[in-house]
C-alpha cells in the first residue's frame, strides 16, 4: 500500500518554481528520506503534502486522502515535526502534552510518559526556555504519543549537535516500528544509517526515488590507471559522472553500474587501461558527485 502518492505536484511562488511536477510514491512501512541541497524544494513539497501550502498544480494523496482535504481525522494519524515549526512557547512541556492529548483519540498516556522520560525532557520547563534540540524532542514526543501511521519530519536534525542527533534517530527508530516515516534532510551521513528509501530533489525536480539498496548498488566510483595520458572516448557516456583526470589516472562515477556490463564497457572505452578499480560509494559521495556533475544524469 502507498501511504503518500504525488502526481505532477508543482508549486510556484510568483516566478520561482519551488517544486516541479513531483511524482513520488512512498510505500507503507518505509523510512523515506527526501534529500537534496538547500533550496531544492524539500520543505515546500512536504508542506504541500501536509496541506500547509496549496499546490499550484498536480495532486497529492496522503493516507488515501487528497492532501488539500486533509482534516482532523487524517491529522490524528500523522505526526509532523519541522525544524522551523512555531511551537506555543509559553507552555510547559507537561502542559503541551496534556493540551494535545484530547485532540487524539489514540493518545497513549503511558507511551507519552515513556517518551518524556526517555527523551529526558524537563516537564515543568516552558518550551521557550528549552534549547533548540530539546524543543525538537518535545515536538517529536508530542507527535509520537498517539502512535501515528505516518511520521513526517522536515529537517529535524538541522543545526543540532551530533549527540542530540543520535538521540533523536535512536528515539525515532525505536519508537516508530510499523509507521511510515518521511524525513527530509541534507544530513546524508545520518540518513544513510536508517532510511530504506531515498528520493533526490534538486531545483524542484525529483531526480530519482528508489530503495537505498538499489541506489548503493548502482553507483560506483571507477578509477582507471594508464601508462600514459589516455584519449577520452567520444561520445562520453552520460551515466559516467564527475570525470577527473590527473596525468595517467582517470576517475569518474558510474551512475548505472552493473557488475556484468560496466567492466566490459570500460574495457571497450579504454583499451589501453593498465588497471581498473571499482569502489562502492557512501551516500554522501554519491550526492556530491551528482551535485558536481550538474545534476543531470541521475
Amino acid at each position: 500500500m502507498t501511504v503518500i502518492r504525488t502526481c505532477e505536484l508543482s508549486k510556484s511562488f510568483r516566478r520561482t518554481h519551488a517544486v516541479v511536477k513531483l511524482n513520488l510514491e512512498i510505500p507503507e512501512g518505509s523510512i523515506f528520506a527526501l534529500v537534496g541541497p538547500n533550496g531544492a524544494g524539500k520543505t515546500t513539497a512536504i508542506k504541500m503534502l501536509m496541506n500547509i501550502l496549496r499546490p499550484s498544480a498536480g495532486t497529492a494523496e496522503v493516507l488515501g486522502t487528497d492532501s488539500r482535504r486533509l482534516g482532523p481525522a487524517e491529522f490524528a494519524q500523522i505526526g509532523y515535526v519541522s525544524e522551523n515549526q512555531e511551537l506555543p512557547l509559553w507552555m510547559t512541556v507537561d502542559y503541551f502534552m496534556s493540551y494535545l492529548k484530547p485532540f487524539y483519540p489514540d493518545w497513549d498516556n503511558a507511551w507519552a510518559e515513556e517518551l518524556l522520560r526517555q527523551l529526558d525532557l524537563p516537564r515543568g520547563r516552558r518550551l521557550r526556555d528549552l534549547s533548540r534540540g530539546m524543543r525538537i524532542k518535545a515536538a517529536l514526543a508530542s507527535s509520537l504519543a498517539y502512535h501515528p501511521k505516518l511520521i513526517v519530519l522536515d529537517e529535524p536534525f538541522s543545526g543540532l549537535d551530533s549527540l542530540v542527533r543520535d538521540e533523536l534517530i535512536e528515539a525515532l527508530l525505536e519508537r516508530c516500528a510499523g509507521a511510515t516515516v518521511m524525513i527530509s534532510s541534507h544530513d546524508l551521513a545520518e540518513i544513510e544509517t536508517f532510511a530504506s528509501h531515498i528520493g533526490y530533489l534538486d531545483g524542484g525536480c525529483l531526480r530519482f526515488s528508489e530503495e537505498m539498496t538499489s541506489l548503493a548498488t548502482r553507483f560506483r566510483e571507477i578509477e582507471i590507471t594508464f601508462d600514459e595520458s589516455p584519449a577520452l572516448p567520444a561520445p562520453w557516456p552520460p551515466t559516467w559522472l564527475g570525470l577527473t583526470q590527473s596525468a595517467a589516472v582517470l576517475r569518474f562515477v558510474d551512475s548505472q553500474f552493473h557488475a556484468d556490463s560496466t567492466p566490459a564497457a570500460i574495457r571497450i572505452a579504454f583499451p589501453s587501461a593498465r588497471a581498473v578499480a571499482i569502489n562502492p560509494m557512501p551516500l554522501r559521495a554519491i550526492f556530491v558527485s551528482l551535485a558536481k556533475s550538474g545534476r543531470k544524469a541521475a
Binding site: 508542506k47 501536509m50 496541506n51 500547509i52 501550502l53 496549496r54 482534516g71 482532523p72 481525522a73 491529522f75 490524528a76 500523522i78 509532523y80 519541522s82 522551523n84 515549526q85 512555531e86 511551537l87 506555543p88 509559553w90 493540551y99 494535545l100 484530547p102 485532540f103 487524539y104 515536538a139
Partner: protein
Amino acid sequence: MRQTLHILGKDIRRLRYDIIVMLALTAIFAWCAGHRSPFFDWQTARMNEMAELLEQLLPVAWWYLMARVIHGEQLPGDRQFWVTRPYRWQSLLGAKVLFIAMCVILPLLISDCVILRLQGFHPSEHFAGIAWHPLVFSVVFLLPVAALACLTVNIAQMALTFLAGIASLVILALFGIRPATIWFGSLDWVRLSLVFLVVLIGVLNIIVFQYSSRRTGLSRILAGATVGLAMMVGFFLPWTFAFALQSRLVKSRVDTTSISVQFQPEQRSPARAPEYTRVGIPIRLPIAFPGAPPGMIQIVDGMAGELVLPDGKTSKPLRMTAIEGTKENRWYVMTAEPSLYERVKNTPLRMHLIVLLTLYGNPRTERIPLEGNSHRVPGIGVCATEPFEPEKFTTLQCLVPFRLPGRTLAQFDNGGQVTGFGRMVNSPWPTSIGISPVNKAYWRLPNQAGATAFVFTTMQPLAHIRREIDIPNVRLADYAY
C-alpha cells in the same frame, strides 16, 4: 463542543493576567461612568476625566486582548504547529468567539447594567438598549478588528496595517475624497447602518473563510473589497436613496396627505450683497410646508432641484446646503455652480424641486429650573442646567441612556428659541454608537432676561415624506442675494 471548551480553557490560562487587567479596567470604567454628573462638579470631575480617559483606552485594550487570543493560533503563515494537529476549524473559531463573548462582551454588558444602576436608571426599563448595545459594539468595534487579526500574524503587523489604512484615508482626504457629511444630518443613521452592514457581511465572510480555509491572500482581497465597498457607501451614497430607504424601513404612523409644498416668491429674503462661497452661489428659496397635523412639526431632511435650461436640457442637481430665517419665514439655501449661475441668472427657468421631510409628533414637555440640582426628564435622562460665561449662555446638560429621542427642543420658559442644530436622531435603533450606555448631550442657549426654567420638548419621528414641486419662471438672480 468539547474541543471548543478545551481551546477556550487554554486561551484563558494563557491570557489570565491580561484578562484580569481588562476586567479591572472595565470595573473602574463602570464605577467612574456610573458616577458622572450632568453638570460640572469638583467632586465628580475626577470621575468624569477618568471615565473619558477609559472610554478611549478600553477599546484599545479590548482590541489588544482580541488580537492576542486570535494570534494564539495565527491563521496566516506556514509554520504554526497547530495547522498539522487535529483542530476542527469550527471548534477553533467557536473557542475564539466564546473567549471574546466571555472576556469582552459579557463584562461590557455587566458594566452597562452597573453604569445604568449607578446613574439611577433601572436596567429593566432599558432592555432594548442593553440587548442592542453589545451587538452594535461588536459590529462597530470588535468584528473589524477581529477580521484584521485573522489576516495578520502579530500585533505589530496588525497595528501597521491599521496605520496604513488611516494613512490611506488621509491621502484620500487630501485628494478631496471625503465623507459626504453635508445634509445627511438626521439621515446619517441610514448611511452609517449601510456602511456597517457592508462591514458586517464582509468581516463575517473574512473570518469564516479564513478559519475554514486559511487562504490569506484571498481573504485580504476580500478585506480590501469590503473596505472599498464600505467607503463607496459612506462617501457616495445618494441622500435621496438614504431617504427612500428610511421611508421604507420606518413605517408612517400618521396621515401626511395634508402636507403640501408652497413656493412663496413674495417672502424673498432681505436684500444683501451677492455671495460666492467655496461650493457655489447660494440661492435662497422661500418655501413653506403648510398642512402639518395639529401638534406636529415637519423638518426638511434634504432638498434637491433641477433647472430646465433654455435648450430643454436639465441642469446638474442643486443641493440644499442650509436653512435660514425664522419659523414664519424660512429660506432654503440651494447652491448653484458659478458657471451655471452666470449663464442663466437672468433667464426665467422652470425649477423642479424634490423635498424630503420628516414629520415629528407626540411632544412631551418638561420644565427644568435654571437653578438647582439635576432633574430626571422622562424620555431623556438626567439633566441639569449650568451657567456658562454667565453673561452669555446657559448650558443644559443631560446624561442620556443609550440614545436621544427623535427630536429635542430646548427653550427658555419665556419663549426663547433653541440655537443650533444636530438634535434630531431619526434612527430606529435603540442605542447610539459608543462605549458607555450613558452619554452626555448638551444644549447651549443664549441667556434670556427673566427666564426661570428651560422648557424641554421631545418629539418622535412619525413619518418621512417626499414632495415634489415645479416652480415656473424662476430667475436665479432674484434669489441670489
